[in-house]
């Protein structure tokens, strides 16, 4: 068996070490961003019945919109729907600059996306699941939120806007 040693050229060995170190550095950067700086991806929030989520009077999505839960802190319940007309309910939200808004988004029909431009908020919206991320809006302006998953003929026109007032 002694003849059967794996031959590794020294250049190649160095390249493999370099590759390994590079990947460890990338992994470390991502980890620091995730756990040190708190830039996190969505976590399971709540499961719902897509058939009743928009109509059940006990469901917050039967009356979607903005609720102020504390000074400068809001919960936004948003319904993303393809039927009848590819839209978000509500389509427009207004908050003052400095507000922290937690978005709770779900769908009563097909899969959708929810991406708020110029922020880190971007997630899938699935029927039966509630997607949640929190965004702090420090700068005044208009932030469009757009649908990023194919949801039928009107997918390309499905969007809404958050107005952040000074």
């Amino acid at each position: 068996m002694s003849a059967q040693n794996m031959h590794i050229d020294s250049y190649e060995r160095n390249w493999m070490i370099f590759s390994f170190v590079l990947l460890v550095l990338f992994a470390a950067a991502v980890s620091v961003a995730a756990f040190g700086m708190g830039i996190q991806v969505p976590a399971p929030e709540q499961r719902v019945d897509p058939n009743t989520v928009a109509t059940d009077p006990n469901s917050p999505w039967s009356n979607p919109g903005l609720r102020e839960v504390a000074p400068g802190k809001y919960d936004a319940y948003i319904l993303a729907r393809a039927i009848p007309n590819w839209e978000y309910l509500p389509k427009e939200l207004t908050v003052p600059a400095g507000s922290s808004v937690s978005f709770y988004v779900t769908s009563p029909d097909v899969q959708h996306g929810f991406k708020i431009q110029d922020t880190n908020a971007n997630f899938m919206v699935l029927p039966g699941q509630v997607s949640k991320l929190t965004v702090k809006f420090d700068k005044a302006g208009t932030y469009n939120f757009i649908c990023t998953e194919f949801c039928g003929s009107g997918h390309g026109v499905m969007y809404g806007a958050i107005t952040v007032t000074p």
Partner: protein, 549 residues
Amino acid sequence: MKQYQVSAAEKKFIGSHILVAVLALAVGSLFGPLQAFEHAGWDVYVYLKPLIKSYYQGLTVHGVLNALVWTTFFIMGFLTFNVIFGLKRPLKNIVLNKVGFWLMVVGVVAAAIPVLLNEATVLFTFYPPLKANPFFYIGLTLVVVGSWVEGWGLLITYFDWRKENANERTPFVAFASLVTFVLWQICTLGVAVEILTMLLPWSLGLIKGVDPQLARTYFWFTGHPLVYFWLLPVYISWYAMLPKQAGNGKMFSDSLARLSFWIFLVLSTPLGFHHQYVDPGVPPAWKFIHAMLTFGVFFPSMMTAFTVIASLEHGARKNGGKGALGWIGKLNWSDPSVASQLLAGILFFFGGIGGLANASYNVNLVLHNTAFVPGHFHLTVATAVTLSFIGISYWMVPYLTGRKLWQPKWATIQAWTWFVGMIVFSNSMHVLGLLGAPRRVPLNLAPYVPAEWNSRLFQVGLGGAILFLSGAIYLLVMYMTATNKERVEAEVEVPIAEPMQDPALSPVWLDRWAPWIYGAFALIVLVYGPMLFDLIKNIALTSPGFRVW
């Protein structure tokens, strides 16, 4: 020394794979540029209305035919060739392989009919509860099952060879092809379960609803390793064939090439959550673990980059190549098969970097489902893979048919136009994605597109136009070659780069299947098992179907 003679029947059989693949590419690629033109403000779909109802239907045709049909048929043909030629023996049971092939063909036809009738405009990810005609799901199932049957035909051929050659090292091209198939066999279990336990019975009306989160999880169990199913055949060509074609180079390291294939087998599947970073129903801990494993599977690609480039350099220096980079000029660029694959490799470098960005957990928050993603995979599957397959076909079609490649100069122009067109197209898609443009949207009609995107949208269309031209040249070259009256003088030599070291000296564990397959399954159970168990235990078949296109 005369090379191993593949029988005429087998050549024809392999050739029929390439034929179906190229036909799929022809139709599918017709629709690619239409999406790009739409972005640039010229909506051709208006004129296609009687036939193709929408941008999205065109996008479905493009995705299904190019990403699924072209690739799968070409790959099964190429792997079949590699196993026969590598092991130097005929297929044990060609009837079995033919059954597999025809299942695939019937599957493509069954899926194509509803797609063309606008009854399955669900894109190539077919996420429920978008509900397609049942024949769409039946067709996809037959394609997958057909590819399994073909692969089993390759495995039994290998088992016979192994019995007779117990102590030999499996020749590299056969070995790597078999690993590619086994990876495919393992990973397609996800989509098979998705279709057979949920989508098909649901589309047939046997069950009322589906669980979209579970469906996505099954889908991406298959969806990412699918990428390696596309890529590994290219790696086979880059490792073991291209160095020979480009300058009579030898394969720099046979044993590390084998090791990288084993790592792909073990690591390709258990990382599908990196497509689901922003899904609501998967805990961040699992997403993070899959992110780390995704970094891991980048490692064998880095090894591949080294060995392939070193092998090319070895040939080029023998031919008088000098300097740190000057040797690149000594490669055989005038051979269209070489030019295609070298250009594909150059763009793959950028595809790999973009892939790492996508895979980087929270970085994905700014990239998920933006135009960055199709920008990325047009460098990988649509260039690294497709342009390499095109390059392989430039020697393989003459080899299989005995007809001379028609106008190699045009084939070379084709490779360069693809390269240039893809740079223009893909670069602008990446930039648009970073600016926030979503994928899968006819952006010309979208109400939220700011003026600052316009110049990039125009470039998308420009790139599409160049690619359209390149695709047309490819079809012309293929058609003229397949019908060429001018025949090759002698059978085309199959380019096989010999390894620098005798493979017989490499460790035995690099030629043993069991530990790697057990390892692959163990890792899948470890990092997919708990989440799958949880999702299945809490399955909620609450989503009825929707036809909203």
